[in-house]
Symmetry: D4
Subunit: 248 residues, 8 copies
Amino acid sequence: MTEDQLRALMEQVREGSMDIDGALSRLRHMPFEDLGFAKVDHHRSLRHGLPEVIFAMGKTPEQIVSIAGSLLQNSGNVLITRAPKATADVVTSRLPGGEYFPASGAIRFWADRTIRGKGKIVVVCAGTSDMPVAEEAQITAEIMGNEVETIHDIGVAGIHRLMSNRVRLTEARVIVVCAGMEGALPSAVGGLVSCPVIAVPTSVGYGASFNGLAALLGMLNSCASNVTVVNIDNGFGAGYVASLINRV
Amino acid sequence: MTEDQLRALMEQVREGSMDIDGALSRLRHMPFEDLGFAKVDHHRSLRHGLPEVIFAMGKTPEQIVSIAGSLLQNSGNVLITRAPKATADVVTSRLPGGEYFPASGAIRFWADRTIRGKGKIVVVCAGTSDMPVAEEAQITAEIMGNEVETIHDIGVAGIHRLMSNRVRLTEARVIVVCAGMEGALPSAVGGLVSCPVIAVPTSVGYGASFNGLAALLGMLNSCASNVTVVNIDNGFGAGYVASLINRV
Amino acid sequence: MTEDQLRALMEQVREGSMDIDGALSRLRHMPFEDLGFAKVDHHRSLRHGLPEVIFAMGKTPEQIVSIAGSLLQNSGNVLITRAPKATADVVTSRLPGGEYFPASGAIRFWADRTIRGKGKIVVVCAGTSDMPVAEEAQITAEIMGNEVETIHDIGVAGIHRLMSNRVRLTEARVIVVCAGMEGALPSAVGGLVSCPVIAVPTSVGYGASFNGLAALLGMLNSCASNVTVVNIDNGFGAGYVASLINRV
Amino acid sequence: MTEDQLRALMEQVREGSMDIDGALSRLRHMPFEDLGFAKVDHHRSLRHGLPEVIFAMGKTPEQIVSIAGSLLQNSGNVLITRAPKATADVVTSRLPGGEYFPASGAIRFWADRTIRGKGKIVVVCAGTSDMPVAEEAQITAEIMGNEVETIHDIGVAGIHRLMSNRVRLTEARVIVVCAGMEGALPSAVGGLVSCPVIAVPTSVGYGASFNGLAALLGMLNSCASNVTVVNIDNGFGAGYVASLINRV
Amino acid sequence: MTEDQLRALMEQVREGSMDIDGALSRLRHMPFEDLGFAKVDHHRSLRHGLPEVIFAMGKTPEQIVSIAGSLLQNSGNVLITRAPKATADVVTSRLPGGEYFPASGAIRFWADRTIRGKGKIVVVCAGTSDMPVAEEAQITAEIMGNEVETIHDIGVAGIHRLMSNRVRLTEARVIVVCAGMEGALPSAVGGLVSCPVIAVPTSVGYGASFNGLAALLGMLNSCASNVTVVNIDNGFGAGYVASLINRV
Amino acid sequence: MTEDQLRALMEQVREGSMDIDGALSRLRHMPFEDLGFAKVDHHRSLRHGLPEVIFAMGKTPEQIVSIAGSLLQNSGNVLITRAPKATADVVTSRLPGGEYFPASGAIRFWADRTIRGKGKIVVVCAGTSDMPVAEEAQITAEIMGNEVETIHDIGVAGIHRLMSNRVRLTEARVIVVCAGMEGALPSAVGGLVSCPVIAVPTSVGYGASFNGLAALLGMLNSCASNVTVVNIDNGFGAGYVASLINRV
Amino acid sequence: MTEDQLRALMEQVREGSMDIDGALSRLRHMPFEDLGFAKVDHHRSLRHGLPEVIFAMGKTPEQIVSIAGSLLQNSGNVLITRAPKATADVVTSRLPGGEYFPASGAIRFWADRTIRGKGKIVVVCAGTSDMPVAEEAQITAEIMGNEVETIHDIGVAGIHRLMSNRVRLTEARVIVVCAGMEGALPSAVGGLVSCPVIAVPTSVGYGASFNGLAALLGMLNSCASNVTVVNIDNGFGAGYVASLINRV
Amino acid sequence: MTEDQLRALMEQVREGSMDIDGALSRLRHMPFEDLGFAKVDHHRSLRHGLPEVIFAMGKTPEQIVSIAGSLLQNSGNVLITRAPKATADVVTSRLPGGEYFPASGAIRFWADRTIRGKGKIVVVCAGTSDMPVAEEAQITAEIMGNEVETIHDIGVAGIHRLMSNRVRLTEARVIVVCAGMEGALPSAVGGLVSCPVIAVPTSVGYGASFNGLAALLGMLNSCASNVTVVNIDNGFGAGYVASLINRV
């Protein structure tokens, strides 16, 4: 039941062309969620600056072009994640303005570059191989209106590199830490700062890393109290939550 | 090298009783971490309102009394987590002012009740059995200076109860959701709000819940983008991070 | 917003004491879930014969007495599952009419013995040790208004016992099969009948049974197409779904 | 021992050319399964409308053509599942009348379109990527003589979409829910309806989804009592059981 | 249909009081498994020397006394496995002649001490803690009519002890090897002999032994071709199969 | 120390050119394993009819040709397992007399066709997809001098097919059962016969079969006492042990 | 064959009472391992300072007293590990000179306090709860003749404490690091030093620590190249290997 | 703060252009890690003979050429691990002097062939398929200045081959043992020698080897006390630690 239908019903009641029991009956059987739906949508339009996101994995280039094309009408930012090169070629040739990031597979369409974050988000990655995940976090945080700084290649086994970045870390309002293998970096970073740290285990490693399981378990058991965790390789989720925290 | 030693060295340089190369040499071999230690401590004292926390599991009552007694000198808030009844009896009889919460095993000593959080933290739990974990999150957030509201017993299978709490949920600045079994509640809550949601899998369940593993995996795979996860039953960690987010 | 409030609002519209925009505004901000809640409850009362169920694990005897006492006012059937002996003693002494089943820990309060199932439910268990789980399924199906027949101790390694019960099995409208260890019985039963088979892995076994995991995996991989699976030891769930199937 | 042999034996008894002890002895050593085999087959021919099913995975196109060709003689419906494109090309070019569904890999041969289901089966899928599994369930249910309705793309994190489909869901006699990632949808659907819900975990996801394990565990731990589970990606099994329930 | 009923039927045929079609019809609908059941039982009685076995775990002392008492009527050997001390006290006081082995929890009743095995069975255990499992294998093999020799405490890390027992090992017709921790002994033994080796992983160990999983996996991956494996701690199964091999 | 060296030493002792202490000293420091090696080899030549086996996985065609060529000099049977087509082409073109089995990847070179097994080995497989594993078992048993009979496609869900093969099964001296998915067939077969049953879990299946883990666990937990288990897909090992049992 | 027997044989050869072929024949059939056994024992007595070790878990106090009593005759050091209090009471009352360490359950008997290690072994533990494991490592290293220094309570999340111990760490010749939860400390320590680091995962933690699995996996995936790992809670093994390294 | 800046500051103090409080204040806020960094670097240059190592997995040939080119300026040894053939072709054609090892994927650049190890390192591998991992260990140990001896193809199931290499094993100062499948070899080797043994599980195997998990668990549970473990297939780590031990 749309608002127009509701208004029409009210007018019938006022005009007496429908009695109250009839109106109640229609309302009672009205799928209330339609009303809820409207409210939610309304609220949604109030969530300024949240980009529309398309998860490309398992979709054909045509499907992605179609969805993205429709979203781009709404003049908000659009982010496509996990697009392989071939898909990206189709999408960027058909939809102008897209910027492709091959490491993470992200495609970004800017409509609104307003900075909404109140502070700086720092994205840290432990090794070179973790950079695609870090890039996904960075691109997500940027398109959500944040200033993002990245620090690459600081591992737990090279603690002096961590220490020499301490000042930059303490200036962050939220930190995203991407690490594979033993996934120990979030604890070390978490112990140096007092802001929230979002840990992203990556599937980087071999053998007993079990595709990121070792890093995931390590992070969940972090002895630093300011660490929360997202799914393995989920740079997008980390960048998204970091952005939400940075705008509260 | 303490600050006093450093000052003495400087004075020797100024007075000429030590030449610059000698001073540099001493500084170069000085275990720099002493300096760092001091700085960190200094910074630490600036972190207003962070409570001292003692994890009671695996400590004797005597050890806890001794640690807590010493911390209580510093006139900050003190939180003891996971204390069994017998331990709590010893602690509260020896250290006045402690408040014991048997469900979660927390003991709380208030020194400073300043509200530091900028908004409201809502702690949600899916079922009655998840309440001890939710209580730990609540007590942690409260002692860190937050207004906390709790919503109990709203599960994914009773979606109307979730919907009837939607307004309260949307008023939160951060939400903690504790759930065992399939751990689906954080996704449902996450889809209703746009603030960060911290998911706490609990070990509630049997059989294929594998002591919380099912809930943990469910939460890590949440289809809601605003969800991050902490360890199984880690109400403390969730309350801690929620507090940090609420004060940024 | 209750129905009375809604009616009052309508009357204000009809009488002109509230204009349509005002009414729409109130409706738009009305927490719609209240309405939904009511509808659901209404629907719920229409679900004849579904018992109220209390999962006793992790609740104190007092909590259970209180919840059960309140439910017993509504004059429907009440089922308590997984109650240890001590709890059952308290409950049955305080609430008359309860029947306790020590093997499964169920307590049953009959208010309505109408048979609602259209056919017979057969509950099979592979070994003596699986009987508590089978009992839970049986009691659940009975209190939901079904005629239940039980067959004990027919295993895959003693196929003649299975064959000698074939006629009884083919007479069932739904079959519940409880088995631990390798959990092969549901496949064997499923191949003999053409009705739906609900498989309940039990935690019976040792070593590489991994507390029911072996049985669970076996059942999920059943080569019989008519088998679905519930959680390890979840006799209640199997009895519940079997009852729903038997009344469609 | 065929029926003819049995009749011959009886005649010898009647004619006295064999005494009763001899006859009993022969019967006792008769491989009884021959008799049983016949009975089973006889019963089998009574199971009207169950299609013949070929699981294509691990079979060559030639093997499938040969098996399907033979089954198609019997003028029943034939369903081939999990056939890759190349296999399907061979099969459909050699056996006329086959309809190929590339998403799920199903090939369907209709011989009998009688509707045998007493109500409507609704197949729900959580995301676009779950659609191949849902398609397999739908095609299976259709060829078994059911009216099937599909609802795509309703997730737990977008609860309003779920709510807006509530009426359609409550009209179902059985519901199949396919979901990957955290697999929470069956619980949410299960809480809205009172009919049986068959949950199909899909391998959709990445990282800690562990190829469908997260969804599988979530569904097995569902807090909704009307949910049973089949193997990961087993749309066929879900459609099959749903059909059996719908015809009881 | 019992043999008596079958004989009666035959007599009716012979006497002409039932025609052949009627008899065939009754036979055709006779639950053939009854016949089968008889045959199996008959066959069973031909399996000389197989003991009756009761798995005590999860049974009350009374149940065990009752089952064992009945089995002891048949004057075959009876073996009860995994009986705790308290159960054994009840059983041996009520049923004379039982011999209790506290390490493995076996109770043995001898009726027939015929040696049926054609050669010697050697039971090896890696460490002192594996002895209860080895004892279960030994007792089982003995009651099944075998000469059993035991070798204790030869581990892979003490290869000279293994070598000094080589002659005894090569004299065996079948070898059972019980080992926990890394479970490497069966491979080493298997490489020394050319007879079948049955490997029993034990739950002995801690940490990454995961209650016998490490030993189990090790044995399944044995590089010796003559090794097969039974469940963790399943000394009974190993002794049973060794006995079967020894009598073929 | 070779036998010649030992003889020379003895002669020196006899001739007095070396005193006994010197001889003892040399013997004491002699790497005794050389002696042992000889004995083992000697014993080895007594193991009539054991084929030489080459596991092709991870070896180049050239390596295999070289090893096999050398083994073929010894005029014993040679078996190559797990050779892909390309490897087999090289091997069979370079080494005459090889017979290639594409399903299992085995290549067989016959030198000695003596039947050494005392009875019949029956190899059973549950489904068409399990046939490559069954073939490996069959070929192994044949080249080790056994009469092998195969039974295909008898599953637990089609128990009448199992029953109609009961006679053939009871005639076996050892049975190998290959099954994927839930791996229930060994229990069913084991319950029908009293000979040893060697269970081979196969990696056939999908989803929660976890590449054969479900079948493996099922078989390890078999409720039939005469079942032992080998590694997933290890048809060779099963055929090998079956042959050893059949010749004891 | 003992040395005496061998000497006798030689004498027979020298004296001509046995010819060389006869002697060779006896030697060839002599179980060579007896000789080997002797040699090994001889070598063993050369391994100065290796203590005799008894793993108490799963042994009765009497068994331990008996084994230890016998070992104490040999006047070497004796170490008993994992003895519960009750066992220790019996042992120390019956065998004088034993020193009991309740945290780790070790009992130590000193006979020889020679320092054999060439440098210092440092044992580090991450938290108070890891101390029992660290104590086991320390006691083991001490009884093997090493100077041991311990550093407690330095975690990855408190990096300044780690840094302030850097000098002590760099002075070590081998380092043992015990850590539970995420097990990240060995990497951090490993990055600071260039000596070998032996990592001991402990079972300290809860939830997703899975009894030490998280720490174990973390350590196996350490990004520091100088780290090797022992079993969960295996302080003994770590101390043992550290001692071996320290004496090479 | 560089050393130059520090010297300038000291000069200001000496000249009186900065008072001591000001200098202290600047020092206190100086990111101390810069100083630490210098010290570490200084120390690092003292670690003679440690090669620079590049892990090639996940890096482009260009990235590797660039990093290696820069490292080669420093005239130390450079080791690249896990480089596929295509990468190696680019690297060796662009950077002269590189030696490529296709089995392990290592590329080695020698600058300094000083022998620094005090004894011999022996690298053992269980089977031919384990040779790439053994090669990685060997090459690593060689480039770190060690004499390395390799022993191939000695398995636990062929104990005489192990015994015949006993002398060579006892001559080692450290032993690296690479083994897949059940991973039992390190225990057997460990029992023969008294030096440290570093165990490398390999991913060689199939089925229940679970890509090296079986071998890993086996080695962690080794009953030999002198065994430590590194990650699956981590030949580099084993060679690295062996080198460190050999030079202490």
